[in-house]
Amino acid sequence: MAAPPVISAEDLTYAIGNRNIVSGVSFSLSKGDVFTILSSSGGGKTTLMRLCAGLLEPVSGRILIEGRDVREFRSTHRFRTSVRYLFEQGVLLSNATIYENVALPLTYHTRMDEEEMRRRVMTELAKMQIDRYKDDRPSSINRSVKKRAHFAMTLVMEPEILIIDNPLEDFDPEGAQIVLKRLKEMNEEKQVTMLIASHTLDLLASITNRIGIMEGGRMVQSGALEKIVSMLRSVDDQKLGFIENSNVI
């Protein structure tokens, strides 16, 4: 019997008042898939990410993670330690140092000894090339470093599913490459499933294997990276102009 999809959305709809932000979106991801959802601003991708992370309640439809409805699954230890949502802004706790921020998920969820924890945190900080900022507060570092620390805080727990909102926003080219390299490593080594929202495919093409295109809250196209890219090449699609400048096309 085939394993259930890691994440699936079934006819998902979310509305504020009478306005549908997400309308009838469905997709399904297997273990190790990296699914990038592209849309211009206001296309509904951030809302979709929040729905998938269980941070918002859909009006209709449902999100299943490992075959379980996210609304019930969200409170379980399994969900809390294996599914992670990364914010567009690199949010960190302002009253803690970078080290304390990155260590927090480990101190809360595990009973790891201090030595092992220090090793894990410092390794993650080094991979993000921000180990020299470990004693700084978030207010004293730039946005690129802050967002890399936000990634480190998430990846230190070695999650199995990552839901990432605009991962490359706020990064300088160097910061973007560092994060992409780390995401690729996670995907190749640990088969981490990723659901990514972005304005452009751009650098994300190097880790993506499936693309979805949202417009006005609807998923207008989805499929394998090569298939969608070749299809977009063949149509004159001004509505999807945001993708034309990407490196893939």
């Binding site: 941070l55 949502y85 949010v91 302002s94 998920p105 101190t107 809360y108």
Partner: protein, 259 residues
């Protein structure tokens, strides 16, 4: 007329719903602590410690000055005024009753609202607006256990500590300074202490516990209220102070009457 009735109806509903929501928040933080007790113990204990440090330890100088001033005032009033009415023997009873049972707890509540209540509401409000609370939730951290429980417990412990200190400073300091008053020689410290009853102490502790629950819960509740803008934070902090004051005064009257 309809809109007036509508307004009255809405306010009446709020009056019922508000205490219910506070009670739910308070109990849910303890339920969350019971459910999550195996997680984040070091973090939560550290936060309780910080809350006690901020609410109790850092407030000691202020409590010291306030309690000695009030103690002196009450002792001098008891020593100077009561003999004039022929009830000098009631000086000790009056001083102990007023200082330990009545004035101590309410003054502590006022100081804690002004210092820690505003700090809790503002800190939580800023965390909410900056997305830090959503960050914690996205990491599977129960904020009722991680943020609210340490603040509530820390404040309860602090209130008890401050109450004991207030009583001690008010009686010892107040008595010492009142030695300059007329007739003071007649009144020995042991005579005052003889009038100190266990019921005064237990009512006083009960009151500060009640005030601690009220202040911490109301300040956490309003601290979590802001949604989008940083301008909401001071508004919510003001609400937290006003409601804490009102509820503490009401609770004080109730407890003074019925205990």
């Amino acid at each position: 007329m309809a809109s007036f009735l509508n307004l009255v109806g809405r306010r009446a509903t709020e009056l019922i719903v508000y205490p219910v929501e506070l009670a739910t928040l308070f109990s849910s933080s303890f339920r969350a602590a019971a459910a999550e007790s195996s997680l984040g113990q070091i973090d939560v204990l550290g936060l309780i410690e910080k809350q006690v440090f901020f609410t109790a330890i850092q407030a000691i100088p202020l409590i010291f000055i306030t309690s000695i001033s009030i103690g002196t005032l009450i002792f001098i009033a008891s020593i100077s005024l009561l003999p004039g009415f022929g009830v000098a023997h009631l000086a000790g009873v009056a001083a102990m009753f007023l200082l330990i049972r009545e004035l101590g707890p309410i003054f502590i509540a006022l100081i804690v609202i002004a210092r820690s209540g505003t700090a809790i509401a503002t800190e939580l409000g800023n965390m909410k607006v900056n997305g830090e609370i959503a960050l914690l939730e996205s990491h599977g951290i129960d904020i009722r256990y991680f943020l609210l429980f340490p603040r509530i417990v820390g404040m309860l412990v602090s209130m008890l500590v401050l109450d004991v200190l207030f009583g001690f400073f008010a009686v010892m300091g107040g008595y010492t300074f009142s030695r300059t008053a007329e007739n003071a020689a007649e009144f020995q410290l042991y005579k005052f202490l003889d009038e100190l009853q266990v019921s005064h102490i237990s009512v006083s502790l009960l009151k500060v516990l009640a005030f601690g629950i009220i202040i911490s819960t109301i300040c956490c509740y309003h601290g979590l209220e802001p949604q989008m803008s940083s301008t909401e934070v001071p508004q919510c902090a003001t609400k937290a102070v006003m409601y804490s004051l009102a509820f503490c005064v009401l609770a004080n009257s109730f407890l003074s009457i019925y205990l």
